[in-house]
Amino acid sequence: MTASSVRHCIVPPSVLHRLARSADEAVRDAALNALALDARFRLARAECAATLRHRPAPVTFSRTGGQPQRTIYDQQGSESQTPGVVIRVEGQAPSQDEAANQAYDGLGATYAYYWTVFERDSIDAAGMPLLGLVHYGRRYANAFWDGAGHMFFGDGDGQILTQTTAGIDVIGHELTHGVTQYEANLTYSGQSGALNESVSDVFGIQVKQYVLGQDVHNSDWLIGADIVGPALRPALRSMKRPGTANAYDDQPADMDGYVSGGDVHTNSGIPNHAFYVMASALGGYAWDAAGPIWYAALADPQLRPNATFRDFARITLRQAQQTYGTGSDQAHAVQQGWEAVKISL
């Protein structure tokens, strides 16, 4: 390559295109060379950006990660989306309000799980403050993440749900909806929606196992056992035996029971069970290998928002093979998990 073609790199492509049509052969060749080089640089930049997926976290000197920034607000029965009265801020001693303390601890547990296992600094991997809004609505039987830094907690209706702040797995589940939003951004309907729900259960149960120090054999693999009301006892969902958690549980455990057009909370039983089978086959703590394989798949740029179960399954297998080896126990366990739910890889 000549020195002149290198110098052409700073010339805008439009000018190079004009020069490439020049009658002078030397000018034309130099311009074509520079255009090819320019295209390679652009491709390399695009590939690099696609791998990173997000803008890199800003470099700051005040924040190194590892410490959540929590604030708990009292919504006082209102359904306003604006944060209400501050009850407890980061580092403050427990308040008189049990729901506020449970929310504070649950947000902290979820932050600690993601930081310790993946060095992920909060929901957005860039230190997003975690705001918990308790006593949302009257007898409100739900808890949700609003996609913008707020987790809302209802006190429950006493039948379907009780105080929702009591469920560490449920807090992990809701905050994981935020993580998914920043990673694969799985569309909330059909199979991608069921995957979105399942990923939240998978990491929600791990947050609970992490807090309780439970290995895969000590965990009950039940979601919402601490917040169900009498109508839904003993739990909302069972990852071990989908479809058996309560009288209304319609989750299938494998593709034979897949409900076409079904709710995202129904078909999520299938990938939930695949994770349970894989983690149980590996033993130990779910976050040793099973959780990291699922996390790597969730963060994989090849996981598209409209992914099917099989798309996701194949990415988990590739991640396991890349990290642990093609013939590794981990890769084999992933295969076992998807086989158990009748998804062919």
């Binding site: 007898r139 739900n142 809701e174 909806h177 549980d249 709710d263 909370h265 129904t266």
Partner: protein, 100 residues
């Protein structure tokens, strides 16, 4: 005014259904709820976009001539309709998530 109300979604993964009559409401609430019901965007069968685990509602009324139906996301519920939703919470029957 009789309406079928179904609530779907929510982290619990069940739906809640009830056939309600505005006569079951207090004398103060009933006319307000009826006015709010009349003002709903009847015939609209797609909710506004909502995040994961949010509630969505379907309301069906048997009018004089034909059945009318509307789907609403939680954030689209007018304040005046809340007494009706409180009634749903009290009297609703739980159903599996994927049963229509």
């Amino acid at each position: 005014m009789r309406v079928d109300v179904t609530r779907r979604g929510g982290v619990a993964g069940v739906s809640l259904h009830a056939t309600l009559d505005t006569r079951q409401l207090t004398e103060t609430d009933a006319p307000r709820v009826e006015a709010a019901l009349r003002a709903l965007p009847w015939g609209r069968l797609s909710q506004g976009s909502m995040g994961p685990d949010r509630f969505r509602y379907e309301i069906v009324t048997a009018g004089d001539d034909h059945e009318r139906r509307v789907m609403l996301s939680e954030s689209e519920i007018p304040e005046a309709l809340r007494p009706l939703l409180a009634l749903l919470a009290d009297r609703g029957q739980i159903r599996p998530a994927s049963i229509e």
